[in-house]
Symmetry: C3
Subunit: 252 residues, 3 copies
């Protein structure tokens, strides 16, 4: 006998299984061949493609929270969360309503993906990663463990962000009314790479195939295909040819 609570209007595909104490809300659509662990919560209206694995304690389709004094006060009418086929959602992951995730995406344990975020196919969102609201993440991106992507960021295809990289979006650091006009996340162009523990300031563009060295503090836009390093980060040398994106033999 099932210990889970599944709304009568939810539809689970052929061969889809779930563990104990799951909660599956109204009008949820789950494709064929999915495997849900124990204690999984899928909120109303969420759609999930075929062959997705969702691990214990994951929460999909959470409604945004609004703090009394949050900088973001508009409460939009968000579409339900949508997760493409063939992906994996890790343990205790939190995915918000208004988030669209492509196919073959891995969202690893304890990470969070906020509302108004899109994530392209074949991307890896590492353990403990936080992607804030209003971000666009491309295809074949790797965000490694504990990476922090600030709101209003754009990350293009084939970007690689090493563990514990931090980003920011408010040069006014919480002061002045002006700041509300100027919130700007980071832009990371196609194939750029960011080393472990680097910090990127608000509004910065990391250009195509730039390599930001480990521990760098990026205070201005970076030149394409160069390595930048240091605090503040300065141009250091060319990215080795064999590491350039175009020389990897990747099809797309």
């Amino acid at each position: 006998m099932s210990t889970s609570v599944i709304a009568p209007t939810a539809k689970l595909g052929a061969g889809t299984r779930h563990g104990d104490f799951c909660v599956i809300g109204e009008d949820v659509r789950i494709g064929d061949g999915c495997v849900l662990g124990h204690h999984v919560i899928i909120h109303d209206g969420t759609t999930i493609g075929a062959n997705v694995r969702i691990d214990d304690g994951a929460v999909v389709g959470k409604r945004p929270m609004r703090a009394a004094n949050s900088a973001v006060t508009k409460d939009a009418d968000l579409p339900p969360a949508a997760i493409g086929p063939d992906g994996i959602i890790g343990t205790h992951v939190v995915i918000y309503r208004g988030c669209a995730i492509g196919r073959k995406v891995l969202v690893a344990d304890l990470s969070t993906v906020r509302e108004n975020v899109t994530i392209g196919d074949f991307t890896i969102v590492g353990r403990g990663v936080a992607i804030e609201n209003f971000c666009t993440i491309g295809r074949y991106v790797k965000l490694e463990t504990n990476v922090y992507i600030t709101a209003y960021s754009e990350i293009e295809d084939r970007v690689f962000v090493a563990p514990c990289v931090a980003t920011s979006n408010d040069n006014y650091i919480g002061r002045t009314e002006e700041r509300f006009k100027h919130f700007k996340g980071v832009t990371i162009r196609k194939g750029a790479r960011i080393g472990v523990g680097a910090v990127i300031l608000p509004g910065i563009t990391i250009n195509q195939d730039t390599l930001v060295a480990a521990g760098a503090l990026v205070t201005k836009d970076t030149p394409a295909r160069k390595i930048v390093a240091g605090i503040p980060a300065k141009e250091f040398r060319e990215v080795p040819a064999d590491q350039l994106l175009d020389n990897q033999g990747w099809k797309e």
Copy 2:
């Protein structure tokens, strides 16, 4: 029929709702108009004000853990956790017994608040933040995503801490018996601001309205109303007048 386990001595206010598979312990008091998600655990004796939202998988009132070789060995008799009205507790948050949280406080997803902590009204504790034991956090404070507040810290009103800031409290770094006398967290005075990815050493005071630049390493106390930057952080220039706390037109 409810799937939750609610102790007979627990009292839930008028209009308070809860999801599936919640566990509400003995003598818990929850005010009117609260909304608890699924899988919420409220431990014995906890009090929660009116109109609080508590999201899926949150745990409130956890008893401290004691490691075999932890530096903190005293096991005090802690009062139950107390959460003021009108707040939000995020998904998979962990709040300890012996923690007192004010009104209109947001504690975002996956953050932890340890025992012997007080948090003032209107404060935001961001996603993934960890506040260790014996900390005092003021009113209208913002601790952004993944901020780490070490034990024995004091953070005054209107402080802003940007994402991924780290603090520490042990200059002896785990050696000598001496160190137990000298554990000292950080003190962040009213209106001070800390930029993304900064690191603050044990016992440091960040003075009133100081702005610590992104990525700085703060090794000594900072001057009020100055910007400090670099590794180690040095005085850089005045905080722009329009960014000073007194010039924001905030009432309190």
Copy 3:
């Protein structure tokens, strides 16, 4: 009446208790006198020693996830997770199958321990710590809050890693086929200590009783019993004699 789901082949020791909505899988063995909170999930085959405390929402014995484009593609036949006696597993912790944890180990809230990891006796794994796969952690180690230990690392006995330290294992940063031959984590020798917010590059050895200062970027192997500091880290001075491991009077 129990609300938990316990497989008929699971064996729980004398005096072992569990909370509500737990799931205990096939062939699990739990020793005497253990205390499991609510919503605890113990996957098939896991063994747990006597007198272990496992807090709410912890997941033990999770099977690895494999991303479509993960660098690690081999899927080994992992042994079940094994946890020694007298330890504590915190709230929402995730421990993988193929992980062996010693006695009197604390794994604090929201931390993750991946497959093919061993952790020695009396070690503390702090809140939010992530230990990736193929790591060896010694005895009496302290990994403080939010420390990140990259895959293929070795950490010897009595090492102390302060909060928010980051490590890495790929000098090619996700490019070239070459890189698969060169993944190498960090090696931290007996008694070494790493200060808050330090970053350690791939393949680095931190030698015996080295002290890495807070905020340092370690780009080459460190000398034993010296303090290294700065970006990049340079030899600074001797570790004070009273802080050397041999002078602590510790028995082992």
